[in-house]
Amino acid sequence: MSLVKIKTKINGKEVESEVEPRKLLVHFLREDLGLTGTHVGCDTSNCGACTVLLNGKAVKSCTMLAVQANGKEITTIEGLSKNGELHPIQKAFLEKHGLQCGYCTSGMIMTSFWLLRKNKNPTEEEIRKNLSGNLCRCTGYQSIVESIRYGAELIKEKEEQQEMVVR
């Protein structure tokens, strides 16, 4: 099959690539770019382990072709930490035990990131509704919900600190 040229911006970097038209975005990220933090947990588009941000919105990278990302911005779990420092949501998952085996975690964090962008102070119900496309076999979700609540607090604190610095 002939290859197609695509241009994307991945975790802030412009990337030019040639891909097979039928290649899924998740395989492009993992195999071609080595971004293996994005997982594949099912073949029925149900589990959300493959969640990435496409132009800022959380989507399943296993249910999209790489060529459909042409001209778009993608953020993966690797793109969240800045200068070697974990993102507040990542810290929150560590501190509040939001993971056990960790298979679902990068997807959970990407969906939470999208949620906390839209809604800085979500209720437990809003958190659970927004996570309905992300499955976890291990934790029973309670610690994930707590991690996201705590993540929201950490983000707020960080923003307040930054405001003080600016002043």
Partner: protein, 277 residues
Amino acid sequence: MEEALELLTKYGEDAKVMAGGQSLIPLLKLRLASFPYVIDISGIAGLNRIEEKGDYLEIGALATVNEIEENYLIRERYRALHEAAGLIADPLVRNRGTIGGNISHGDPSNDLPAVMIALKAKLELSGRNGKRIIDADSFITDSFTTVLSEGEILTKILIPLSTRESGGCYIKQKKNAGDFSVAAVAVNFVLDSSERVKSAGIGLTSVGPRPIRAANAESFLEGKKVNDSVAREAATIIVSESEPSSDFYGTVVYKKKVLLSIAEEAINLSYERAMVR
């Protein structure tokens, strides 16, 4: 748009349109279907607009389910559509899946076709030889089969403007969060000045080989005020118009029982909403 229609005509039966890919890619991944050419229409400009224009709320076929769910106008005035959108799949799928794809897939378990029936929507279909407008309830003829002819795509959904006298809802019984329904029902009423139902729209999901208009229940309700016994009788008529089959989601008996209960609830709730002006 021109290009897409040209390619579709050129490749004929070998070509398949893809919008959000949330139904198509799962099929392709499981090798349940394959097509030599997939034509991605998601880049067509302007086909995701949502606006009231003339006598209709116009929705471009490429508007995503998430855009519909979050649209202020739809949330305020087209409750059945707002509620159905928020109950489809999960937020990740809703960020990609489009209204046009949800309707065109022809899946009797997809939620939006029944809403189109209840809202008495019309669909604009475009092909190389121009456009035609059809009633939404004649669009899906059988499971996964629509009236779209080769080289034609769904471009716009036209919903009659909602008035102060109308009210509706969508009630969906699911087994698990983020799943298709055991049964679901969309209802929309327009009342006259004496609080009688002037026009009723009732569409059913997951209880037949295609989305079903409960036409007998609609005519039963028209001209009446809704009270508990009217709602119960209408729900019984709705069940008699359904044609469910037994599957993973339940037996025929179970599905009819679920339908009876959500139909009654949906009729009462829609009437209540139409009364609140």
